[in-house]
Amino acid sequence: MKSGVKWIGACAAGLMLLSGCSAAPTGSPAASSSASGTAAAETAAGSELDWSKINDPSLKGQEITLLWSNDKNNLMADTFAEFTKQTGIKVNAVSTDYNSLYNKISTAVMSNSSDIDVVEMDTIWAGQFLKGNFAVDLTNVVPPDVQKQFSPSSLESVKYDGHLVAIPHFSSTKHFYWNTELLARAGIDKPPVTWDQFREDSLKLKELGIYASAWSWKQAEGLVCDFVSLTSAFGGKFFDDNGKPIFNQGGGVQALQFMTDLVQKDKTVDPASLQWTENDVQNAFAAGKIAMMSNWEYMYPDLDDPTKSKVAGKTDVGLMPGEGGILSAAVTGSEGLAILQSSKHKEAALAFLNFVASKEFQLPFFQKTGNYPSLNELFQDSEVVNSDKSNHFSKIVNQYQYGYNRPNAPGYVTWSDALAAEIHEALVGNKTPQAALDSAVQKIESSQ
């Protein structure tokens, strides 16, 4: 018996050694593969792909795999079948949930797997996709006149450092929603167009015992999104031209001061905002508890459905307020489809992106999944407008001319967490806005 244990122990040790031999360098292969990858990538991106060859008959019979989270019920299958009929390229669409998307993509890239050709890219990953050599640089591949067809906010959100990393497949920003009944009760006949006015209106609502607004200011990404909207409205910037963080000056500080004043001084904000995300805010608004909110698309048609909302027919949506010379500013949440560098069917993938950049894709995508188009011309297209069920189409798409990006550089996720932590400190009154932002800048600089 004892000797058996010994044997097993010896085998285990042997196996460990065997597997161990390959372990020590495993830390570095990622380095060697990508170090050489950098040089290879540059040439691969430029020479291999050609926009004029996307209709090449040789692409027939190829199959590309798409990994995305926008179509969980596979509603787009018919549309993809149409694409296959036209080009002979098969599309294998794989759905996942948004939260595991980034992990799945990075695992595929790290393991150099060519299983996935096209992936959904959130705007905040653009820097990482470009600098980490995840995606093919499309800057010189997609002709300028094709790029110009997209709404400014959706095109900006798939670019990093002037490089095009993906093709925007839908538009998204935050919007300004208000409860017409509550505003009228406070004698306000039209929604605020500047943040100053927003503050005055909020105080009027407070006198009636109504919370003027609620926000998704739990320490999370939603908090950073609102900070970006407000910083841009106050004319602030996140980084200067040399990539140095400057949001602790000017507009950035004004924005955080404004947010802190709403919570600490005016007390016009539902205090629960500090532990709420976008969904909680939406629920409070639908329950008629708050008069104004800033939130993403998809509030309608639910907000107008009496079975799901107590404010059906009593709400409206429009441009986010601006300040001074800025008419309106809203953070973008657009996404794009990018081609992975490890793909073996890049040209076919490019043909697919060309299809995504057309009405043939964007109209059914809007009709079936509710994602707003990214092509400018579709905002006036009668077929698109008529298939809108919310009756707020033009007001929603109007905002896409005033989108502002989160700073989507490679280290974004790390910074965003540091920034959210510090902003939250200011909001609960532990730090002054200036001190909080200074410390966020310091954290970001030390992580670089």
Binding site: S3, G4, W7, I8, C11, A12, L15, M16, S19, G20, A23, A24, T26, G27, S28, A30, A31, S33, S34, A35, G37, T38, N103, S106, M110, Q128, G132, N133, K218, Q219, A220, E221, D270, P271, A272, L274, Q275, P410, G411, V413, T414, D417, A420, A421, H424, V428, N430
Partner: protein, 305 residues
């Protein structure tokens, strides 16, 4: 005769040997899988902890020795998270021990419906931690949450006061402790109850003969007799509590609320594999330390017996 006698022994030995070899052969796949998915990753994380290994900077992977560890020991966030983890661990385990002890005492008495109560206390423990978190998150909602409503109705909170319970990362820990105590006290109760059932009734009778009251019996009979169970229960809970993670992800986006949360974010959000491996190893060292203390206590306990 003399020539035959050794051969069956040899055959027996051979057979024994063959059996062992066969057993090893059968075990090999399991051992291989265990090595591949369990032992090897542990070893690999030890190697990684000595590297600067950020997936976001694939061009810059290099050996830095103890760099990650030294950096962590100077890292403010790391210490804040260690602080909060220990605060949570010590307070929640202490509260669970006291509450669990008294509810075990209660359930050890014979009364009508005892089986029902013994069964029903398991319900909170059977809940998923995440579900428990979502439920308590709802209770802690400002304004309409159950906690605020309860305090308002009991006039413990002025009507114009509406605190944001989960607004501040330091105070969040107290609410996490409350939620955790609610959920895991039953676990403590069950372990202690099992221990109590093994205390012979004759000891209590003898104590009663000597004129001991309730508290004296508790002090001189129950507690000393229960010590082995207490040690097992406390150490199991400590090891579990120190890894608190899932409930916090519901309550807050602040990763410095626990060391596991911080480690997870560093590994799977920022992809700092080197640094997060070092973090995981430092935490493991703390836990190993706990286990050593546990072993010593256990041995001392069995020696005194």
């Amino acid at each position: 005769m003399a020539r035959i006698s050794p051969s069956p022994r040899l055959g027996l030995l051979n057979r024994k040997r063959k059996d062992t070899l066969f057993a090893i052969l059968l075990l090999l796949p399991t051992v291989y899988v265990l090595c591949k998915v369990f032992i090897y990753p542990i070893y690999q994380s030890a190697v990684w902890s000595l590297f600067k290994y950020n997936l976001t900077e694939p061009g810059d992977v290099r050996f830095i020795g103890w760099g990650n560890y030294l950096e962590l020991l100077k890292n403010h966030d790391f210490w804040v998270s260690i602080d909060r983890t220990f605060y949570f661990t010590i307070l929640s385990v202490a509260a669970e021990l006291v509450l669990g002890f008294f509810s075990a005492l209660l359930l050890n008495q014979s009364f009508k419906g005892r089986t029902f109560f013994r069964g029903s206390i398991i319900v909170p423990w059977a809940l998923l931690t995440l579900v428990n978190g979502l439920m308590w998150n709802w209770i802690y909602q400002p304004g309409n949450g159950a906690l605020s409503q309860l305090l308002h109705r009991a006039h413990l909170l002025a009507p114009d006061q509406n605190p944001v319970w989960l607004g501040n990362s330091d105070s969040i820990m107290n609410f996490v402790i409350l939620a955790d105590v609610w959920k895991t006290t039953p676990f403590m109760t069950l372990l202690l109850l099992a221990g109590m059932q093994h205390i012979p009734g004759s000891l209590y009778e003898a104590a009663a003969m000597d004129g001991a009251g309730f508290w004296k019996k508790l002090k001189h009979v129950t507690i000393p007799q229960l010590m082995p169970s207490v040690i097992v229960a406390v150490v199991l809970r400590l090891i579990n509590a120190i890894r608190v993670y899932d409930i916090l992800t519901v309550f807050t986006g602040d990763p410095t609320t626990s060391v596991s949360y911080l480690t997870f974010n560093n590994a799977f959000r920022y992809f700092y594999l080197g640094r997060s491996s070092a973090m995981a190893w430092l935490t493991t060292l703390f836990i190993i330390l706990l286990i050593v203390v546990y072993m010593i206590l256990l041995r001392r306990n069995s020696d005194t017996d």
